[in-house]
C-alpha cells in the first residue's frame, strides 16, 4: 500500500448466509482513501453502502460473511498496515481500532444513543476506554468536544439525557463521540438522511469544518447525490453491491458516464428547477432484490441503453477514462 494511503479495499466480497445458501451482497468492491481525504459512496437504499462501511470496522452481523478480499488499514498504534479482514472480530486489535482510529456516525441520531445514560456518560466512556485519563479529565474533554461540535451550553448538555436533545443536536453529540479519540477515519453512514433540510446543511458544514480542523479522512455515505458535491473529493457510485462509476466530484457532476449516475443526477432537486419548471426525473423501476438472479450489469432492467445479449450476460470490465475517472458500462467498451 502506498505511503499516503490510509485505507485500501481490494476485491471485497460479502455474502449473506441463509440456511446454507449464499447470496452475494457486496461484489468485487475496491476503493482507496488517502489520509485526510473525503470520499462519498452514493447509491439508492439497499445497494450495500452500510454493509461496506460496517465491514471496515468488522461490525457486520453474524449472517453476513466476508468471503474474500482485503481491507488494508494503516493503524497508527501499530504503525503498520493491517488487513482488517484477517482480524478476529472479537479480538483485541479490532477493539482498539474501533472508536479510537475509526469513528462512526449513523443514520438515526434519535436512536444512536442509549436513552438511559447521559450524553456525557456515553462520550466519557469512549474517551476513558482508549485514553488513560481521569473521570474529571474525560468530562472536561467531553465538554470541549460538545462545544466544538456547536452544542450551546455544553457544560449543562454534558449531564443531559438524549431525549432532552433535538435530532440535530443528537447528531452533533454523536459526531462529538465519534471524533473524541481523534480518529484517522470517520465513517458517516447517511448522517443527514433523517434530519430536516436546514439541519442537514448545518451538519454538512460542521463535518467539513471538523475535517479541516482535525484532518481526518471521511467516508461519507449517502443516497442523495445532492449533498456530496459540497463535502467530498471523490465519489463512488454503487449499484447492487458493485461500484459502477468512480471519479472526482467534477467528473461525476459534469461528465457522468454511467446511465445510473446520470439518472441519479436528474433526480436531484435544485432550487432553480422550480423557476425553470423542469421536472425531476425519477429513476425507472426499483432496486431489485438481492435474491433476484440478475446476470450481467444489475442495472440493465432499468437502463434505457440496455443492449440485449451483452448487458444481461457478463458484468462489464472497468474502463479508465482518465487517471481517476472509471466506469463499468458496455457503452464505453
Amino acid at each position: 500500500m502506498p505511503k499516503d494511503m490510509l485505507l485500501e479495499i481490494k476485491d471485497l466480497e460479502i455474502s449473506l448466509l441463509v440456511e446454507s445458501h449464499m447470496v452475494n451482497i457486496i461484489d468485487n468492491v475496491s476503493f482507496d482513501l488517502k489520509f485526510g481525504e473525503v470520499i462519498a459512496i452514493v447509491g439508492e437504499s439497499g445497494c450495500g453502502k452500510t454493509v461496506t462501511s460496517q465491514a471496515i470496522a468488522r461490525l457486520l452481523p453474524r449472517e453476513l460473511k466476508i468471503l474474500s478480499g482485503k481491507i488494508l488499514f494503516y493503524s497508527k498504534i501499530d504503525e503498520r498496515v493491517l488487513d482488517v479482514c484477517k482480524l478476529d472480530p472479537k479480538g483485541k486489535t479490532i477493539h482498539y481500532i474501533r472508536g479510537d482510529q475509526i469513528g462512526m456516525i449513523f443514520q438515526e441520531p434519535m436512536s444512536s444513543f442509549s436513552p438511559v445514560y447521559t450524553i456525557g456518560n456515553q462520550i466519557c466512556e469512549v474517551i476513558r476506554l482508549h485514553q488513560k485519563v481521569s473521570k474529571k479529565k474525560a468530562r472536561n474533554i467531553s465538554i470541549e468536544l460538545l462545544d466544538t461540535v456547536g452544542i450551546p451550553n455544553p457544560v449543562a448538555a454534558v449531564d443531559q439525557y438524549p431525549h432532552e436533545f433535538s435530532g440535530g443536536m443528537r447528531q452533533r453529540a454523536m459526531i462529538a463521540r465519534a471524533i473524541s479519540c481523534n480518529p484517522s477515519l470517520l465513517i458517516a453512514d447517511e448522517p443527514t438522511t433523517a434530519l430536516d433540510v436546514t439541519i442537514q446543511a448545518q451538519i454538512l458544514v460542521l463535518l467539513q469544518e471538523l475535517q479541516k480542523e482535525f484532518g481526518m479522512a471521511i467516508i461519507f455515505i449517502t443516497h442523495d447525490l445532492g449533498v456530496v458535491a459540497q463535502i467530498s473529493h471523490r465519489v463512488f457510485i454503487m449499484y447492487m453491491g458493485k461500484i459502477v462509476e468512480e471519479g472526482s466530484v467534477h467528473d461525476i457532476f459534469h461528465n457522468p458516464k454511467h446511465p445510473y449516475t446520470e439518472n441519479l443526477i436528474h433526480a436531484i432537486p435544485k432550487l432553480g428547477n422550480l423557476r425553470e419548471r423542469r421536472r425531476l426525473v425519477p429513476i425507472r423501476g426499483n432496486v431489485p432484490s438481492i435474491f433476484d438472479e440478475l446476470h450481467g450489469c444489475a442495472f440493465h432492467p432499468r437502463c434505457k441503453f440496455f443492449m440485449p445479449d451483452k448487458c444481461d450476460v457478463h458484468f462489464p470490465k472497468c474502463k479508465h477514462l482518465t487517471s481517476n475517472h472509471s466506469v463499468w458500462c458496455y457503452l464505453y467498451e
Binding site: 461490525l59 477493539h95 474501533r98 472508536g99 462512526m104 436512536s111 476506554l129 439525557y161 432532552e164
Partner: protein
C-alpha cells in the same frame, strides 16, 4: 425524585387502605360467622347447642355489631400493631403468625432470587445466542416449566428429593431439627429442604421471565445504539451489559411486583401440598374456621407484601429509566 417517592408512598398507603376494606368484606362474605362455625363444629362433635348460647358467643366477640364498627375496631388495632385475638387458637393473632411468617418471607424472598437470577442469565444467553442449541434447549425446558402445574411439580420433586437425596418428604426441616432452636446446623438443614418449594413456586415465573428477557433483549439487540456502542470499541460483554441488557431490565423490573404477587398467592397451596411450617396451611385453616381476625391479618400481610413489592419495583424503575423520571417531573 423525592417528590415522586412521596407521591408513590402516598399511592401505596391509599391502596393499602382500600385493600384492608376489601379484605374485611371478603372475610365476612361467606354466610355465617365464627360463632356459627364454632357451633357447627361442636354440633358435629355430638353436642347440642342452643341458639342463645351461639348468640352469647357472638355478642361476647362483638360479632353482632355493625360491620363498619367491627372494621374500625379492627383497623384501630392494626394501626397500633394489635391484630386482635385468633378466635380459634385463643391467642393473639400476631403471636400465631409470628411463628410462621419468617418462613413465608424466606420462601418468598428465595423464590424471587431464584426466579430472577436464573431467568436473567438464561434469558440473556438465549437472546445473544439465538437459535443455538442452548437457546432451543432452554426454550423447550421453559415451555415445560410454564405448562407443568405446581402441585405436579411438587410431587415430582418430593419424590426426587426423597429418592436421590434421602431427605424426609415435605416440611422444611429434618425430624431432628423440627423443634430445635435456631442454629447454624438448623439453618443449613432448612436450606437443603428449601430448594424444593422454591423450585416449585418459581419454575413458572422463571420460564415466563426467561421468555420476557429473551424477547425484549432480541428487540434491543437490533437497535441502532447497540451497533453505535460497538463502534466505540467497547468489549462485547461490557457493551451487552451496559446497553441492551440495561434497557431490557425495564420490563423485567416493572413486573417484579406482579411476579411477587404470583409467588405469594401460589405459596399457600405449595405450603399445603408440601406441608411446610409456614403461613400457607395456617391461612387455609383460618379461612375454613372463619377465624375472622387471623384470616384478615393474613390477607392483609399478603397484600402488604404485594403492595411493597410493587412499590419497590416502581422505585427501581424510576431509578433505572431516566425517561420516566423526566416525564413525571415535567
Amino acid at each position: 425524585m423525592v417528590q415522586i417517592l412521596i407521591r408513590r408512598t402516598g399511592y401505596a398507603l391509599a391502596t393499602l387502605f382500600f385493600v384492608s376494606i376489601i379484605c374485611f368484606i371478603i372475610i365476612q362474605l361467606p354466610p355465617g360467622d365464627y360463632a356459627d362455625a364454632y357451633a357447627a363444629k361442636r354440633h358435629a362433635g355430638g353436642e347440642i347447642i342452643r341458639a342463645e348460647e351461639v348468640e352469647a358467643i357472638r355478642h361476647q366477640l362483638g360479632l353482632d355489631r355493625p360491620m363498619y364498627i367491627q372494621y374500625l375496631n379492627w383497623m384501630w388495632g392494626v394501626v397500633r400493631g394489635e391484630l386482635g385475638m385468633s378466635l380459634e387458637y385463643k391467642r393473639p393473632v400476631s403471636e400465631v403468625i409470628a411463628e410462621r411468617l419468617p418462613l413465608t418471607l424466606i420462601l418468598a424472598f428465595s423464590t424471587m432470587v431464584f426466579i430472577y437470577s436464573v431467568a436473567l442469565s438464561i434469558g440473556i444467553l438465549s437472546a445473544v445466542r439465538q437459535y443455538s442449541a442452548a437457546d432451543h434447549f432452554f426454550t423447550v425446558i421453559g415451555y415445560i416449566g410454564l405448562a407443568t402445574p405446581n402441585f405436579l411439580l411438587a410431587l415430582l420433586l418430593m419424590y426426587a428429593s426423597h429418592k436421590w437425596f434421602g431427605q424426609s418428604v415435605g416440611g422444611l426441616f429434618s425430624p431432628q431439627f423440627q423443634d430445635a432452636p435456631w442454629s447454624w446446623a438448623r439453618l443449613m438443614d432448612m436450606l437443603s429442604h428449601l430448594w424444593v418449594p422454591v423450585v416449585v413456586l418459581g419454575t413458572a415465573g422463571t420460564a415466563f421471565q426467561i421468555r420476557t428477557m429473551r424477547a425484549v433483549l432480541l428487540d434491543e439487540l437490533n437497535k441502532m445504539y447497540v451497533i453505535a456502542a460497538r463502534s466505540t470499541g467497547l468489549s462485547e460483554f461490557r457493551m451487552l451489559m451496559k446497553y441492551p441488557v440495561r434497557i431490557a431490565l425495564n420490563p423485567i423490573v416493572s413486573t417484579l411486583g406482579w411476579e411477587l404477587t404470583r409467588v405469594i398467592s401460589g405459596a399457600p397451596i405449595v405450603g399445603v401440598v408440601l406441608s411446610l411450617p409456614d403461613t400457607g396451611p395456617l391461612f387455609l385453616k383460618s379461612l375454613l374456621d372463619q377465624d375472622t381476625y387471623l384470616a384478615g391479618a393474613m390477607i392483609l400481610i399478603y397484600c402488604t407484601l404485594v403492595i411493597a413489592g410493587t412499590f419497590i419495583s416502581d422505585v427501581l424503575l424510576i431509578i433505572l429509566d431516566p425517561r420516566i423520571r423526566y416525564e413525571r417531573l415535567t
